[in-house]
């Protein structure tokens, strides 16, 4: 274990029960939401976790937040195994790992004022109990999240703000605890394109100013280039490709990554190109296909793909992908 990593995930698995296939069957079905993920996050690093709905990226985030109990594997935070931390410890860890949710319309309590929302984490953790000091931290967090002057917002309610402003409030509510890690679960997918840039730039600034490590979860490879140091592509509960941002974007090696990249719209009609559109949808993670999990949809699949489940293969020092074609 190197102290270099603020968060390390080893062979993490999270299965959910999905009932029995038949009334009298003894075998139980499991949803393999996260199925053996290895991931390291360095201090101040931004890792983008990319994949379609149902690939397990949100479950992975909830498991990292200790909101879901891991089925197998372990999570190390600042060198300490926190996988099965006691409730008291969990609370202390949550102060350091904060989350930003997808839907800013739903993730704020409509009956609370902005001040109450941002103050709440301090109260929960018993921090800054002196009223003046507390107010100061709240104002600071709001201004850091780009809501300036904070005084204009303190007494407003979520419904009086726009989507972008609400997402800033959610971010302020996370920042007020001075976390070391921010888990952002699709923080911009519900926002207009013109506002997405603001939120992404805000996260980039926070990383620079405060050295916060960020895990940025998204289904849209297009928004991550601006922001991530590394990109991890997930498919059916596994990471199929991981590497430095430039390497993955410019030289994707897994066919799934290649397809994801090819369907990102390019804002220039002169650059229209052939898109590699995968047919069908991510199969359900109850009955996983044998061999490589991507082979039923893979345009390059060969016979061997039906039998062999490929492991991540190094392509360069900072780039790995899990595809049989790379091993040959």
């Amino acid at each position: 274990m190197t102290d270099d990593f603020i968060l390390e995930v080893r062979n993490l698995k999270k299965y959910f029960q999905a009932g029995r296939p038949g009334w009298f069957s003894r075998r139980e079905n499991f949803i393999h939401a996260v199925d053996g993920v290895n991931l390291q996050l360095r201090r101040g690093e931004v890792v983008a976790l990319v994949g379609e709905s149902g690939c397990g990226k949100s479950t992975l985030a909830l498991t990292l937040m200790l909101l879901e109990e891991a089925t197998e594997g372990s999570i190390f935070f600042e060198g300490k195994d926190i996988t099965h931390a006691a409730p008291k410890e969990r609370k202390a860890i949550r102060q350091r790992i904060q989350m930003v949710f997808q839907d800013p319309y739903e993730s704020l309590n409509p009956t609370q004022t902005i001040e109450e929302i941002v103050t709440e984490p301090l109260i929960v953790h018993g921090l800054s109990l002196e009223a003046n000091q507390r107010r100061q931290r709240v104002v600071q967090a709001l201004e850091d999240a780009g809501l300036k002057p904070a005084g204009d917002y303190l007494h407003r309610f979520p419904h009086q703000l726009s989507g972008g402003q609400r997402q800033r409030v959610v971010i302020a509510g996370a920042l007020v605890l001075e976390p070391h890690i921010l888990l952002a679960d699709e923080p911009v997918s519900m926002l207009d394109v013109s506002i997405r840039a603001e939120i992404i730039n805000l996260l980039a600034d926070l990383r620079r100013a405060r050295g916060i490590s960020v895990i940025f979860i998204t289904h849209d490879l297009g928004t991550v280039g601006y922001f991530a140091d590394r990109i991890a592509v997930m498919y059916l509960g596994r990471i199929v490709e991981i590497g430095a941002m430039r390497e993955v974007l410019q030289d994707p090696r897994h066919p799934y990554t290649q397809a994801l990249l090819s369907v990102i719209p390019v804002p220039n009609p002169r650059l229209r190109r052939k898109r590699l559109i995968l047919q069908g949808e991510t199969p359900n993670p109850v009955n996983l296909p044998g061999g490589c999990r991507f082979h039923p949809r893979c345009p390059l699949a060969i016979e061997a793909c039906r039998h062999t489940d490929p492991a991540l293969t190094p392509i360069s020092a900072s780039h790995q992908a899990a595809c049989i074609l790379l091993q040959q």
């Binding site: 102060q95 609370q112 984490p121 780009g146 007494h155 407003r156 959610v170 997405r196 490879l221 559109i277």
Partner: protein, 644 residues
């Protein structure tokens, strides 16, 4: 960041209470109930001062006073003991209300606690509490109360306790279901992620959202408790020394008021009960409406129509696409009428042409009038919206003035719509094939059931759904498949124009790509003209021939797709493009457009984009720019274009 300087300064912070009062006082029913309740509460509280006689004292009562009819001395007459009924009525109000309020408090407390705990913790706790509640619910209340009261001392407090302890079951059930709903909302998960414990979440997040329902319920429980008390007292099970309305009825009935024709001795307490129950019911219903406002007008009601004027300015149009025009919108303006406010201009003087096989992108941020424009084209505006100028020509018919019959013919067969979030618009209890068949049957004559079925299969296959999924229900479809089914439904009557309103917004990138590919293929195969409404410029660049950029209800820029992306003239288009991530240059910092689009009821005086425009100058603040044509049909509404 300098972004926020432009944002709206907050209005006076509206406290939730003032906001509540402002809505509440507009609800006549609730106000009437409240006034009625206040009157009776004041009477009860100041009974000592208001009652002309002491109902317990026999001082000055004479034998001939028994059952005297109403007079100036005794407004409600006298009772069997010659005492003043009006005084008893006022004192009776006090006891009836005390029982009502305290019993209701007990019920609400128990029911609320059970409901919240059961809903929040779930599992065996919920099972135990709710089964217990069910058991209590099926035991008939009144006999049980009668038994309990008969077994205990007949005192007011025993009555309160018994009524309170037996009246909580409905509250528990209502509160539990509300708690379940609140618990599943995202802000509760967020609170957990912050590190909050169960108690904190219940107090700060569940309770405030359960409260409105609890309040409404409490008011109805009070009236039930008052009724229960009256029943018990009437049956002679109450404290004989405590005067209540039920007690008055009991005495009057038992002591021959009916036989001597002394109706007043019965009517007065009866009136009191009716008055309070009515007051509480009115207040409860009113509060429910206030706290739980439903939409008053249906979103898709046919809009009123008042074409007031022919707009003056018609920029010449040249075809970007050389096929026949199917849909032409000329100088269309739409207003929303709001009670007591000046009308809001949602769409102002918009013109465009759509050719056969053309795909036009309609682009702009949320709230720029895109959806309103499309609804106006199909005459599907909500009732507050009206077309106030311009024409919508579909194959020569002006939709803006067409009759209902003409509209019915054009809708779906001429122009159909794939709605935003449409994949949630399928009826969950009917098969997808059935719903497509219904759409066809509504608009076209059907020769035979077999032909209809063949058509449904053909449509499903057209959108890439295998025939065997025809008899499946929507929940068996994935999100992408449901969206395909909605496209099949939009195509069911072979329209010439399809309006796709953000058809891929909630979908994953890969499914989005599949749907876009499908739309593109269908347009080539069927010669469809498509209007593609979106805020995503990338998708437009991939798909469209022409682009109309809207801002604040007006056309900002209208041109062919290449011009829009490679030679945009309007600063809004330029800024939108800069805000779009470009993978070919990932290290460039994204720029964003400071501020937000204008509210339609508070449009700036000059150019609507001026407050956010990096190039704005003095004239932009005062004068709305004309639509300028810069050649080849390229239309721009910006003063800068004129200067060049």
């Amino acid at each position: 960041m300098a972004i926020q300087e432009l944002e709206l300064k907050p209005a006076i912070p509206a406290s939730p209470l003032t906001g509540f009062w402002n809505v509440f006082r507009k609800n006549r029913m609730a106000v009437a109930g409240l006034v009625m309740l206040i009157v009776i509460v004041i009477a009860a509280v100041f009974a000592d001062a208001l009652a002309p006689y002491n109902p317990r004292s026999y001082e000055g009562v004479q034998a001939e006073d028994i059952y005297k009819p109403p007079s100036a001395q005794h407004w409600f007459g006298t009772d069997d003991a010659g005492k003043d009924v009006f005084s008893s009525f006022i004192y009776g109000a006090r006891n009836s209300l005390i029982v009502g309020f305290f019993a209701a408090f007990i019920s609400i407390f128990i029911g609320g606690t059970f409901g919240i705990i059961a809903g929040f913790y779930g599992g065996w706790v919920e099972n135990f509490l709710m089964r217990f509640t069910d058991t209590m619910l099926v035991i008939p209340d009144l006999p049980l109360i009668v038994i309990f009261v008969a077994l205990t001392e007949p005192s007011l407090w025993n009555i309160i306790l018994v009524i309170g302890l037996l009246g909580w079951t409905t509250t528990a059930r209502i509160v539990r279901s509300q708690t379940l709903a609140v618990k599943s909302r995202k802000f509760v998960l967020r609170a957990r992620a912050i590190g909050a414990g169960n108690w904190h979440i219940i107090v700060h997040h569940i309770l405030p959202l359960v409260m409105p329902i609890l309040v409404v319920n409490a008011i109805l429980v009070i009236s039930l408790a008052i009724l229960s008390e009256s029943t018990l007292a009437f049956l002679g099970l109450s404290d004989p020394l405590a005067i209540s309305w039920g007690q008055m009825l009991n005495f009057a009935f038992g002591r021959g008021a009916m036989s001597v024709g002394a109706w007043w001795a019965l009517v007065a307490p009866g009136f009191g009960i009716v008055w309070v129950v009515l007051a509480l019911t009115l207040l409860g219903n009113g509060l429910e409406q206030v706290l739980n406002p439903r939409l008053e007008s249906h979103h898709l009601m046919r809009g009123r129509l008042t074409v007031q004027k022919e707009a003056g300015e018609t920029p010449s149009r040249s075809a970007f696409v050389k096929t026949p025009v199917v849909l032409e919108v000329q100088n269309l303006s739409v207003e929303y009428v709001n009670e007591g406010k000046p009308p809001a201009r949602a769409v102002e003087n918009v013109s465009f042409q759509l050719h056969e096989g053309e795909m036009m992108g309609l682009v702009g941020e949320s709230g720029c009038g895109k959806t309103t424009l499309m609804m106006a084209v199909n005459r599907l505006l909500p009732s507050a919206g009206q077309i106030v100028g311009g024409k919508v020509l579909f194959n020569g018919v002006d939709m803006a003035t067409a009759s209902d019959q003409e509209l019915a013919d054009i809708r779906w067969q001429g122009i159909s719509i794939i709605f935003q979030g449409a994949m949630n618009a399928l009826n969950p209890v009917r098969t997808v094939g059935d719903q497509i068949a219904e759409a066809i049957r509504k608009h076209l004559p059907v020769e035979s059931e077999a032909a209809l079925e063949a058509r449904v299969v053909e449509l499903l296959e057209l959108v890439g759904i295998a025939a065997e999924h025809k008899d499946h229900y929507p929940h068996q479809y994935s999100g992408g498949m449901r969206q395909r089914a909605m496209i099949a439904m939009a195509l069911s009557c072979s329209p010439q124009v399809v309006i796709a309103d953000e058809p891929t917004t909630a979908l994953d990138v890969m499914i989005q790509a599949q749907i876009l590919e499908l739309l593109d293929e269908l347009r080539r195969k069927l010669g469809l003209a498509v209007i593609f409404v979106t805020h995503d410029l990338g998708v437009v660049a991939e798909m469209c021939d022409t682009v109309l950029v809207m801002y604040g209800g007006v056309t900002a820029e209208y041109a062919d797709v290449d011009t829009i992306y490679n030679a945009p003239r309007h600063p809004y288009t330029q800024e939108l493009l800069k805000a779009f991530p470009d993978l070919s240059n990932p290290e460039k910092r994204l720029s964003s457009i400071p501020g937000y689009p204008p509210k339609l009821d508070a449009l700036p005086a000059g150019c609507r984009f001026a407050p956010r425009c990096p190039l704005a100058f003095e004239r932009c603040k005062t004068e709305l720019p004309r639509l300028h044509e810069t050649g080849n049909g390229h239309i721009v509404s910006c003063h800068l274009v004129e200067n060049q």
